[in-house]
Amino acid sequence: MRSKLGLDAGVVAEAREAAALVARRVSSSLSGKSTVSVERTVARLLGVDDANELEVPLPNILVDHVRDHRGLSHGVAYWLGNAMIQTGKSAPQLARLVACNELDLCQLDVVAERRIREVITLECERALENLKDAQRKRQEFRLSLRESPPPLVYVLTATGNVYEDVTHARAVADNGGDIVAVIRSTAQSLLDYVPFGPTTEGYGGTFATQANFRIMREALDEWSASNGRYMRLSSFCSGLCMPEIAAMGAIEGLDNMVNDALYGILYRDINMRRTLIDQRISRMVNGYFDIVINTGEDNYLRTADAVQAAPSVVASQLINYYLARESGVKDSHIAVGNAFEIHPTVTNGLLIEWAQAELTRELFPDCPVKFMPPTKHMDGNGLRTHACDTLFNLVTIATRQGIQTIGVPTEGTFTPHIHDRVLGLECVRYVFNSARDLGEEIAFRQDGFIQSRAQQVLRDALQLLRYVVDVGLFEAIEQRTFGNISRLVDEGRGADGIFETSDMYLNPFVALMLGDTTCQNQ
């Protein structure tokens, strides 16, 4: 396809190479390490769920137990495998015994490492196969139904009460939404555990729990079956439990996941090593189960100026893309992020947005790209927000974005009410339909405003990527490269959850999920 923006193929190629190098170096700098949340993910994939009477989740109890006995460097899979051999019990049964203080995993006699590896690998394979089965059934269900053409319309609900979220989700579906994402309770990302059970109280959102996933999944499946159109479900793999939420999503049949370590680093002050290790496994799970991931570049534009920060968005999209590839996610499942956040008073702001949106499409032709609405400068004046959203919708359809998070008129006022979302959807429907093939009709004037802007942003992004190659991603983050925020490599939350793995370390899921393709990266 010829570039509408007249991009220099050499610049594009060089930017890609630089980003791929950054991603490779990040991965290798994190090898030989695991985290408590990765180990809890192993437990969850092996079927450990539930919580004790103090509402401490069993995966936490199990991993803390091994950690307290200084056995974590072998990996929780090692101890579970050994205990399975010694007791003949399953992982969930073992976790329950540990929770009642009836079993000390690390005091059992230990059999030969080779034997443990065989047994636990078989268990892991079986667990993955069961989940894969469920996923295949879901795929059949989806293919038997109608789906909207892209851009898929992505709508948030955030009532705090999962049962109210269901009502909102039905309204979203009734009014043409394609993906429902339940916003999490503020600062759930800082919890080093995943709450258990259905929840009806949240602050600015609803807790992501496995039970809440299930309740929402059932409601959407029911709607899909009776209306003949498949509704997708999305949640958030970010924060201190990134990989665990990925596992829960796989278990409960989610279709999309926001999956971005940088969000946690910059905006939740989570330790960067911790969350990048978590992200690697988290994306591996998403990739293996064909869950579309969304990266969060849109967030930078909320703390930095959208016009100035454009090159950092492109640089981050490329790095994030290669980090996802390293974890085995396919192009068709990597939705890099972008947002329509230029201040409404900027002259030719629409043209700048258009250039950026088109640039993202051209750089990631096979990725869905997730385009986010204006929020930063939106205020209580909902009619102004609605006007801005209309232009946003126009750019979305004209640049053929893969996924669009809708703008809602009361975005800047409070967590939007049910009818506000319906009004937002109505506007999306109107513009998408009214300008359906506009993109095909448009060619940009050679060296005109839009082409020049896009080319400039790409050149600046390349500069930035060269700098990141020179200093490394960690140093670049320290130097405020993204979102105009600095975070230090040794600081931030959750650093104490990282540990060095020993020679005996076992996590069969990694090799099983990556298969042959990425073994050369190990």
Partner: protein, 270 residues
């Protein structure tokens, strides 16, 4: 600033005011809401009845639409017969105008001219850091950046389950201008005891007059805060810029008074 503004407002003599659409005292208002009723012929009647129950006169449904099964959205125009005594309101409490982040920064540069130090925590056994994070952390809440994002603030967020003593010690160590406490759990009035203890420790340490004491939480009202001896309380619906507006306005007022006091003292007028 507030004092002189209030004076000028009072001189204008607003008296009783009604909502304004295109004629003074026409009282026309718009209300929009969803009712959990099906989209049917009778549903508009429900909307009209509700509008009347609100005390609105001659309501008219100008728009109604289906939201989903069993939910319908209405836009209603009506006359609101009520009026408010603006003058009396102005006299009740010294007001603080809410400013945007940029306005707070400008105000602070102009009237305070130094970094304002804020120390915050969720105290006692409360494990919720949600509120304090929303107010202080960069990311803020609902698209409103927290104080960490303001150039005029230096914000320390000590997190949750912080003993009152630790919070006060930190405030002393960094010479804080304001102490911010968040309380989410309100079972058995735990928050009341905990908040009162904080104020008493601040008093016992002899720094009550040197700091602004601010508390917040979904069930903490301004009334309760003041009863407990805080300078202000923020409840649900508070954004970081509201908090920031209060802090800079109050500090500026105190700075002015401190200057006047020291002049008085110098002149022997105290």
């Amino acid at each position: 600033m507030p004092e002189s503004m209030i004076q000028s407002v009072l001189k204008t003599n607003y008296g009783m005011v009604k909502a304004y659409a295109d004629h003074k005292n026409d009282g026309i208002v718009q209300v929009a809401f969803t009712l959990p009723v099906p989209y049917a012929r009778s549903s508009s009647k429900a909307a009209l009845e509700l509008a009347k129950a609100m005390g609105l006169v001659r309501p008219e449904v100008v728009h109604c639409q289906r939201v989903t099964d069993g939910y319908t959205y209405f836009i209603v125009y009506a006359h609101c017969p009520h009026s408010v005594d603006f003058e009396a309101l102005q006299a009740d409490t010294p007001d603080v105008d809410f400013m945007t982040q940029a306005e707070v920064e400008a105000f602070s540069a102009d009237r305070i001219g130094r970094l304002i130090v804020v120390v915050g925590a969720s105290t006692g056994t409360d494990t919720h850091s949600v509120g304090i994070d929303a107010m202080l952390n960069l990311k803020g809440f609902d698209g409103h950046s927290g104080l960490e994002a303001y150039a005029c603030f230096r914000a320390y967020n000590l997190g949750s389950q912080v003993p009152n003593g630790v919070l006060v010690a930190k405030a002393v160590a960094v010479n804080a201008d304001a102490i911010l406490v968040s309380q989410t759990v309100t079972q058995q009035q735990l928050h009341v005891h905990n908040l009162a203890e904080l104020v008493d420790i601040v008093e016992a340490e002899g720094i009550r007059k040197d700091v602004l004491l601010v508390c917040g939480g979904p069930r903490v009202s301004d009334e309760l805060a003041k009863e407990l001896g805080f300078d202000v309380g923020f409840s649900k619906g508070t954004y970081p810029n509201h908090l920031a507006s209060f802090i800079v306005t109050e500090l500026a007022a105190r700075t002015v008074e401190a200057r006047r006091d020291s002049r008085l003292r110098a002149a022997g007028g105290w």
